[in-house]
Structure formats: C-alpha cells, structure tokens
Symmetry: C2
Subunit: 330 residues, 2 copies
C-alpha cells in the first residue's frame, strides 16, 4: 500500500512530518510518498537512516498555507503538495492522501481534484473527540456552515460507516446535536434531520445535548459545520482555561506546587487521554478518495498515527462502504 | 426595595431558597417576599431567627416544575409561585422577581404575565460564563432556537446595557459567535447579524470563535439560542470530563493522591473561580420587569447573590436603559 504524506502540512513541517513518515514506514510495513519541495524534504530525510525503507519523494514547489483562502488556493496552487499529492491518488499511483495542513484547503483540493462519491451532496470535515468512554466522532466540524436536513443524514451515514469500519465500533450510536434531548427540541434544521435519521437504517439514538458529547452518549455526533466548529473550539478553550487557572492557583501556594509535582504522572496521563491529536487524524468524508487530515499541532507520533488511520481506511474499504451506505438511501 | 423570591425554585427548594433569602435581607437591607405554599415556606422560616427582618410570605399553591412544558405551565398554573410572583411585579407591589427554577417556565410566565419591553422582538435567556479574565455574558442560551438577524442585534444591545449598567463593565466589547474570526465567516444568519451589529452604536469587536469565549475576548457574546445552549452545556460537560478523568488518574497513583491532598486548596480555588453559579443569576432580557433566573443547583449563597443581582438591576435602571438602547435603533 502506498500512502501519500503532505510533507509541508502542519505547524512543525517538514521536520516532524518526515520523522513521522519514517516511523510509519518502519511500523506499518507500507510505502510512504513524501510530497513537497524536494531539496527541503531530502534535507530532512538526510537526518535519518532510511536505508532499505519504502520511502519516496515527489516534488511539489508550492504549499497551501494555513492563511490561504481554501478554494482559491486549491485552484491556483496547482504545484502545491496537496494538489500534487491528491492527483497521485486520483491517478491510481497511491491509495490515500494524508496531511496535517490547512483542513479547508485539503477539502477544497479534494473536491476540485478527487470529486465527490456518487450521491454525496456535501463532503464533511470530521474529528475524533475525547469522551468519558474513550472517544466519539463528530461530523461536520466546519466544511458546511449552512446545512440542509439531508446533508445531516448523509453525515450520519458516513460517520456511522467510518466508526464501524475504521474505528471498529460495532453498531455505532448516532446522535444529533440539539439544544435539548427530547424529540421535538431543536432548530428547524435539526427537527427535519431528526425525522430523516429516525427513518434511516442507522442506530439513531435521537438528540444529544452539548454535555452528552464528552459524556460519551453517542459514537457519532451529527451536526452542521457551524455548531460543530463551535463545539471543537469551545472544548479546546474550556480545557485550556481550566489548565491555566489550575496552574495559576497552584503557583500561588508552595504546598500545592509540591502536590502538583507528586501528581505529575497523573496529570500527564490526563493530558494524553484527552488529547485527540493522538488519534492521528480524521477523514474527509464524502470525497472520492481516502483523505485523512491531522491536527496542525501534530508531533511525529501523531503524523505516524495519521498514516495508520489512512492505512486502516484503505484496508477496511471505507470508500466502498460509504458508497453502499448512501446507495441504500437513494 | 421589595424583591420577590420564588421559594419553590431550584433543586434544593424551599430549604436553601429560604435560607438564601434570609441572608439577602440581612446583608442588603431590602425586603424579600417569599412566594410558595405558605405552610411549607413558614416551616422553613421557623428554622431561623427572623425577628425584625423584612420578610413576608405570599401564598401560591402550585409549582412550575423542571419537567413542565414551559408555555403550557405558564398559562395553566395560574396559582404557581412564578405566576403569582411575577404578578406582584406587574402590579407594582414588588420591584423584581427572582427564581432558581425552570428557566423556560420563567421566560414563558414573564412573556405571558409581564410582556415585552416596547420594541423588543424576542426576549433572551442569558448567563454569566467564566473566562480567563473573570467572566462574560452570553445571550441567548436557549429561548430562541431559530433567530433572525435583528434578534441578534437586540441581544447585543440588551447584553451591552446589562454588562455596562449592572455588571459595571465600561464600554463592553460585544462579540458575535461564529465559526471563524474573520469578517465574512459564519452562517447566513451570522453574516447578516454582523452587518447590523457593525452599524450599531455598540462596541462591536466582530466575530468570536468558541475558544475566544473562555479566553475572555468579549464581554458580551451574542448568539442564537441553539448555539448558546450547546456552548453552555458543552462547557459544563468538558469541565466535568476533565475533573473525572483527573480524579481517576490520581486515584490510580498513591503519590498523586498525596499530591492532590497537598493541592486541595488550589483545586478548591479553581472550582470557585470557574463556578458561574456563584454570580447568582442572569436576567431575562427584554421582558417588561426585572426577572433574574439563577442556576437550578444554587446553594443558599447563590440564592443570596441572585437577589443581589436583582437589586442591582433595579437600582441601576436596567429596564429604562434597555428601552433607551432599543429606541435609539428604531
């Protein structure tokens, strides 16, 4: 299996990306194709012993930056690592594309160069989100700000397929984000989507509230890209606030400083349990190719995990399964 | 000043409500009117030494429960503590109404019995929310699931007046919740509301993202009731998850248990800094009377603070200021 890795994607690219890519080749027995400016990528590769590893480099002179306007960049930067990398997938020269770069850019490039799976109205951005019971999968988190009810139904179908096939959750519980648990609560959009989800073949558990997401009530949380984006950014902000306030209050008290030192391992364990970047990445659901997007802050281990997610999505036939799931509804 | 306190509102009513009411009378030199089933309320009063305190009881045989459907209950339970209490305000027999009960019920009762301030399209539910810098004010958090742009403008005007007059924040920064900071980001609703807010006399700072709320970028966060509800419930859920996971990880490690013991005061300080129920309550903005709604979990101190918030709203002329703010826009 050949997996393309965008060498220029992420806050610490290309260094940690190349490092993570090498780790992935060693660990998963796959081939990794690094796409990026050849001199830069080769300079990073030279820092490692890569003798005998299935690694190759494909040159791309441009980068879709985090500050680029996605659809503009996807159209104009034809020699970017994302566009060149996705075209490798499109032309059958690779099985999947992975990046920790601009997620909107990746979506735009995928739409433009890979297209949609037949029957899909709108592809979705998704993420893994930590919960009491491990993690859940949220879709959409920003690709589709204003949605129609049938988009949400499709997010549910695609999310359920992904959770079952790739994340290995049998019969995933699909919840619809709303402002109340009861049926009949929600915006006009949510009420309409509720009916569609209820009449689907999904394991639909009804509405879930904000607090139900971290509580782990649903394996797949369906929402529009506006609310999904608010959810993931707010969660990040709340966690940061808690940590900062805790640090401040501890620093005020010498005994508490000692206490925090004694509890250091426990605090580290908390961080690693809740850090969803550890899961490596989430798919762009609905585009006609396996595309996995990782967190911009990914370290080498997260990059390695992103490649693993791509491998699993290919192995478990994610695309075909989504096609089937959508076709059942048409 | 006479402030009505719904003796039956909140998870620990009537006991802690009566206790909090007595504390408020002692501390703020106001009169408190407890509304609820007379025998129940008087039995609670008998547990305290209330000699010489400005406390009275008005009988109400019914209660709008947390499980009641708000508008139905507000219309049908004419002898409920909420309806009777609000009518005291309407008839000029009291200056404000306070409750830690069903907030939807309070809104419905206020709409039905007090009505709206002239020019207000939709009253809003609001809350105080902890931030890096203290707290902010979020409106709406659930009264208006589907909004129009001018509702959001009015939430901004009302929230700004409240923040300035009652919370004492000079020239409050008003932010619009969106899925991106840049102008032009957001749903159709948000984009339209952005223009209205930008053309208003408010100190509008533009879009704020989920993470900007706890970071304290805005003093007043304007949003529709769907997103606002997701925000407050998610924040609660994320904080609970963090605390639970921390407790679990600490309990696994004997040294960490000792550490947590040494850091106990610091952890308590964190809790009290972030516990927004400490602020006592938030107003129903837009109804024609001062109505303050507290958290259902309020303890006696929170109840006392809720009465204080009501006193300040009356003293600072909140209603007249909102009327002026809205009139400037008509």
């Amino acid at each position: 299996m050949r997996i393309v890795l965008d060498a220029m994607g992420g806050d610490h690219a290309p260094r940690v990306v190349v490092e993570g890519g090498i780790m992935a080749v060693r660990e998963y027995g796959i081939e990794v194709v690094l796409v990026g400016p050849r001199p830069l990528v080769e300079a990073e590769l030279a820092r490692h012993d890569t003798a005998g590893l299935s690694l190759s480099v494909v040159h791309a002179s441009q980068v879709i930056e985090m500050t680029d306007e996605p659809s503009m960049a996807a159209r104009q930067k034809k020699d970017s690592s994302m566009v060149i990398g996705m075209n490798l997938v499109k032309n059958g020269e690779a099985d999947a594309f992975t990046t920790a770069g601009n997620s909107g850019g990746a979506l735009a490039a995928a739409l433009f160069h890979l297209g949609r799976i037949e029957g899909i109205k709108r592809p979705a951005l998704s993420t893994i989100f930590p919960t009491r019971k491990g993690f859940c999968f949220i879709s959409d988190i920003g690709a589709n700000t204003d949605c129609k009810p049938d988009y949400l139904l499709q997010f549910g179908i695609m999310g359920s397929v992904y959770a079952e096939r790739v994340l290995g959750i049998p019969n995933p519980r699909v919840g619809l984000l709303s402002n109340g648990e009861e049926e009949g609560k929600g915006s006009i959009l949510v009420k309409e989507a509720f009916k569609l989800l209820q009449n689907s073949h999904l394991n639909f558990i009804g509405n879930v509230e904000g607090k139900d997401i971290p509580a782990g009530l649903a394996d797949v949380v369906v929402t529009d890209g506006f609310s999904g984006n608010v959810v993931i950014k707010l969660a990040e902000g709340v966690a940061a606030l808690l940590m900062e306030v805790m640090e401040e209050e501890i620093k005020k008290r010498p005994t508490a400083v000692l206490g925090a030192l004694l509890a250091r391992d426990a605090l580290r364990a908390v961080k690693s349990r809740l850090d969803y970047s550890e899961y490596g990445g989430a798919p762009l659901l609905g585009v006609d190719g396996v595309v996995i997007v990782g967190h911009g802050r990914s370290n080498a281990r997260a990059i390695k995990n992103m490649v693993r997610v791509a491998r699993e999505a290919v192995e478990k036939g994610m695309l075909a399964a989504i096609q089937e799931g959508i076709a059942e509804r048409v």
